[in-house]
Symmetry: C2
Subunit: 235 residues, 2 copies
C-alpha cells in the first residue's frame, strides 16, 4: 500500500528545516531506523554530502538515521534495500537528470508503489506527479525526459504563490504560467502553498496542513480546495 | 553589422504594449516598411493570429506593418526575405521548440548576424543568449535542445527580480536559481530589470534604459552595472 508525503516546502518562514513536518514524519517513518536520502537536486548548489548532513540533523530529532544515495556504490541496490526514502528540494531539472542518469527513475517509482514510505519536498514532490513540467525551477541542465514518477495521476506546483496585487512586476504570474501549460497539456495541476502537503495512503490522496490549495484544470476556472479535501478522484 | 535590441519586457507597469520602446524602435527599424513577427512563444497562451494583431497595433503607431511568420507557407523563406524581425515574449520552451521544429533556429541567427534589425522582448530576448537555461518560464513542452541563437556571448535573465526582503515565501529567489545555474555552467548571466535593454551595434553591446542591471559570474559576487555600461567584452 502506497504511503507517501508530498510537501510543498521543507521549511516554513522562521522555522527550521523540516521542523513543521516532524510530528507527521515520526508516524510516517515509524518502522524505519534508517532512511535513504536523495540529495540530487542540490538545494542552492550545495554538495551531496552537505545536503545529506542537513537532512540527517533534522531526522536526528525523531531518532531516524539518514544515509545519502551517493554514499552507495550501486544506487539501484540502495533503492531496492531502502526502508524509507526522502528526496529533498533544489533544482528539479538536475534531480530528474540524475535519476535518469543513474537509471533509478522507474525503480524508485516501483519501490514507492510497492509500499516503501516516501517523503518529497519541493523538487522531491514535483517528481511525484506525471511530469516535471509545472516546476518553478530554472533549466540549468537538459534532462533526457520531463516524465517523472507518476505516483499520483496529476501534476504539482510546489511553493505555489498567489499573484501579488501590489506588484508592479510584469513577468508572468504563477497562474499565467500554469495557464500556458494547459494550452498544451490536459493534466490537472495542484498549486500547493508552503505549509500544505498531500498524504497518499494506498489510493487515497488527502490535502493536509492548514492552508487551502489551488486546483487548475484545462479550460476551467481555478478553484480553492479546503484542507482535508479528498483528491483520490482527481485526474 | 549586427543591429539588435534585446529588451527585458515588452510592457512597463501602467504602460501599453511596447510603448516605452517606441522612440527607440522608430530609429531601429527606420529602413523597414514591414517587419516579420515571430509569435511562437504565445504570451499567456494566445493564438498566433491574436498575438500578431497585438504587435501590429503597437507598430502602427510608428507606421510599420507587421506580418506573422505563421502566415507564410515557408517559414525559412519568411526569415530570408524579412526586412526586420521581432520575436515576442511568452513561453521560452515553446518558442525554442517551434524554432527548431520549423528548422529556423540557425537561419534566424545567421540572418540577424548578417545585419537584419532584430527586436526581442522577454522570451524573444532570452533566445539571443547562448542558451535558454536562465529563463524563468515553465517547461510546458520538451524542446530538442536548450541551445539558442548566440547573438551575444553570454546569457540573459529577463524580468530580473530583486529578492523581496519582506517576503515570507521560502521558494528560491531569482539570485539562488542563477547560483544553481552557475554550479554547472560558466556562462555569465545578465539580470535585465524591466525597463532595461541591450543595444547591439556590430560587436558593441551597451546597457540602455534608466535602470541598473545585475551581472552574475561563476564563483564571483554579483555586481550592479550602470546604464550605458559597455558589455562588449563580457563573455
Amino acid at each position: 500500500m502506497k504511503s507517501i508525503i508530498i510537501a510543498s516546502t521543507s521549511t516554513l518562514h522562521g522555522g527550521n528545516y523540516l521542523e513543521y513536518l516532524l510530528p507527521t514524519l515520526q508516524s510516517h517513518f515509524k518502522n524505519c531506523s534508517t532512511i535513504l536520502f536523495i540529495p540530487y537536486a542540490r538545494s542552492s548548489g550545495i554538495s551531496h554530502d552537505e545536503y545529506t548532513k542537513k537532512a540527517a540533523q533534522a531526522f536526528a530529532a525523531i531518532n531516524i538515521k539518514v544515509k545519502g544515495i551517493h554514499e552507495f556504490e550501486n544506487p539501484e541496490e540502495a533503492i531496492q534495500n531502502a526502508e524509507g526514502i526522502f528526496t529533498g528540494g533544489g533544482n528539479t531539472f538536475l534531480l530528474v537528470t540524475q535519476l535518469y542518469k543513474n537509471k533509478i527513475m522507474q525503480l524508485l517509482a516501483e519501490k514507492v508503489k510497492s509500499g516503501t514510505p516516501y517523503l518529497g519536498t519541493s523538487a522531491g514532490s514535483n517528481i511525484c506527479g506525471l511530469s516535471m513540467q509545472t516546476t518553478n525551477d530554472m533549466p540549468i541542465i537538459y534532462p533526457p525526459s520531463f516524465q517523472t514518477l507518476g505516483l499520483i495521476p496529476f501534476n504539482l506546483n510546489p511553493h505555489y504563490l498567489d499573484p501579488d496585487a501590489n506588484s508592479q512586476h510584469m513577468g508572468e504570474t504563477r497562474e499565467t504560467r500554469i495557464k500556458e501549460f494547459h494550452a498544451f497539456n490536459a493534466i490537472p495541476v495542484l498549486g500547493l502553498r508552503e505549509g500544505s502537503w498531500l498524504e497518499v495512503k494506498g489510493e487515497k490522496i488527502t490535502l493536509k496542513g492548514n492552508l487551502k490549495a489551488r486546483l487548475f484544470k484545462q479550460n476551467e476556472t481555478p478553484v480553492e480546495l479546503e484542507t482535508e479535501t479528498d483528491l483520490s478522484n482527481l485526474k
